[in-house]
Amino acid sequence: MYGMIHRAMRQMVQEELGEEAWLALEQKLDIGPTELLTGMVYDDALTLEIVAEAAARFNLSVDQTLEAFGQYWVRFAGQGSLSSIMKFTGQNLASFITNLDRLHLAVGSAMPGARLPTFSTLENAPGHLVVEYRSDRVGMEPFVKGLLQGLMDRFDACGEIAVVHRGEKTILFDIRYQDKG
């Protein structure tokens, strides 16, 4: 995956476990700044190695870590120079998810070689969404679940995310939510 993702992972480890923990992880995997170049495409295997090594330090499973990272990514992108584009993508949960593909379309033009997923909103009713996630990657279900949870957090919503179907390349998420307060 793109180095941008590695940098977000680093920031998550640093924020939760401290600078030293990240340095120890770098040392363990024998990586450094050259594996954290924003615009560089790295093999998914490296990305997963980083996630697995972080998982060991968080005392979580890899899936739990992926989920936590998904949630974190929404916060990460919501800060700094990506914040405006996140805001522009949608100002409530339903419109954000509906517009995710358009966001990733722009990402695809800015970051050639990115293998980006597709999200289709199959049902969009107040407090209820059915979203189909489609990707040629496998094993991303916990990551997507974390991302969707992150989006609920972003829009101050609470609710349940359930997987209702797993296809070869698709996963169907059922989201029932209500706005807090």
Partner: protein, 523 residues
Amino acid sequence: MLLSFSEKQIGALLPAFLHIDKQLNISAMGPGILRHLPHVRMGMPCAEAFDIVNYDTAQFFQEGANVQPVSLIARDSDVHLSGAAIFHDAGCLLAVRFAITEDMFADSSMDLSDFGHADPVILSTMLIVLQRAMLEESQANAIELAHERQRSADLLERTSRVAGYMAHDFNNLLSVIRLNTDRLSRQFGKDEKIGKLAEIIQEMAARGSEITQSLMTLSLQRTDTRQPLAVDQVIQDNMGVLDSVVGSNITLKLNLDADGRKSVVSYSDFLNALINLLLNAREAMPMGGQIALSTSIGVGRSNSHADGDADTDMAASGSYIAIQIADTGIGMSDALLARAFEPQFSSKPNGTGLGLASVRNFAAEMGGDVWLESVEGMGTTAYLHLPVARTVAPLVAAGSSPPNAGTPNALGKQRILLVEDEPYALEALVEMLEAEGYAVTACTSGEEALLALGQNAYDVLLTDVLMPGQNGTEVARDACIVQPSIKVILMSGYVPDSAALQPGWLFLHKPMESAKLLQLISG
């Protein structure tokens, strides 16, 4: 009709569209208008909700035909819309979009849903925002990489320094072993068995010394020695190298007339300086030619600068060895000559500009000077002047008859002030030097040596460099002030920074051989 779309479909393509009927009332609108301009209602006269830029609304719709560009500003808000007005039988479709700038991305209440999928402005604005974010991160990447490089360089520097210190300490130990083994051979070497054992120890110490040498080379420490070298001899010994430096289409003519005189230099630095000057001459003659390399002895001031620079003014009144390298090349203009020794300055396409600058450093460190003289079209001559090493009165061998009157010691023995903080080395050196007929005053620290200098005159100061308290170069500097004629020999396991060495000081690399030391003392 070829195509027909529902309002919903048009709204998906153009979320901010409007339809104006023949009565100039709003008859349809996209979801974007509903969301962001709630005061606009169906059936409302268009002119009540919008101004058309540069037109009277009624006039625009009445005169319009086919497709025309249009810009609208919503009344009661500063929302701008722009696009095309498409006229048809039932009225006019305003195929417009919200005008949005990049700043509005962050603080407008609009989002992607308010713009059509194929909206090129939105796509390119998103691209710009993404690229800017990536650029910002890339700058952070570059800084991280630079820090990483610095960290590696620091680590290398530290490791190399530690390796240097270790080599230095080890050299000191080897020095003690070598000196004391020499002592052993001298005293008991007649016993064949002891002589053999001493030889083995000597050989092993020599091998150990080779290892420390490699360690020092690896850790980029200098390992050379500054000693009096006969300039003509060095040139003659290296004719093979020098010939290949000038290349086959240039003849190198020698005229060596320095009369076997010596200058205190580091062998490799001197050779490098010669090579650099020859390369410079060679590059001035791409079509071939002749280089005359000559040496001679001069007396008095070297005359590089008519206005005389006190710092580089070589051994003000002493004699010097003049080395001249004259080519028959293209010569240099005054402007080039003036800048020729500047670091990083080169008139050649592939030149680094470091060659002549390093020659100038070398000459200055040795207390000499270098300069160029040139006539355009005729050739350039490089002058390298090095001070002639002071000759010291020959030593008196133990037991021989009293020598020169000028020596400070009444018995005619040469006096050596020996400073060494390592007691076993000191002991061995004292014994060896005394056995050779020198009068030795032994000190274990720089402070002790300075006291001794205040009390007696010495011919030679032989001092270790790294010592606690006053170090060897400081002692040597003070000694030269108090007793300007003293001959300085520094000995150390590592080469001190050239800046700390004064021209004319001799330097001996530890672990040293007794014979080499005696040779330096006697000059």
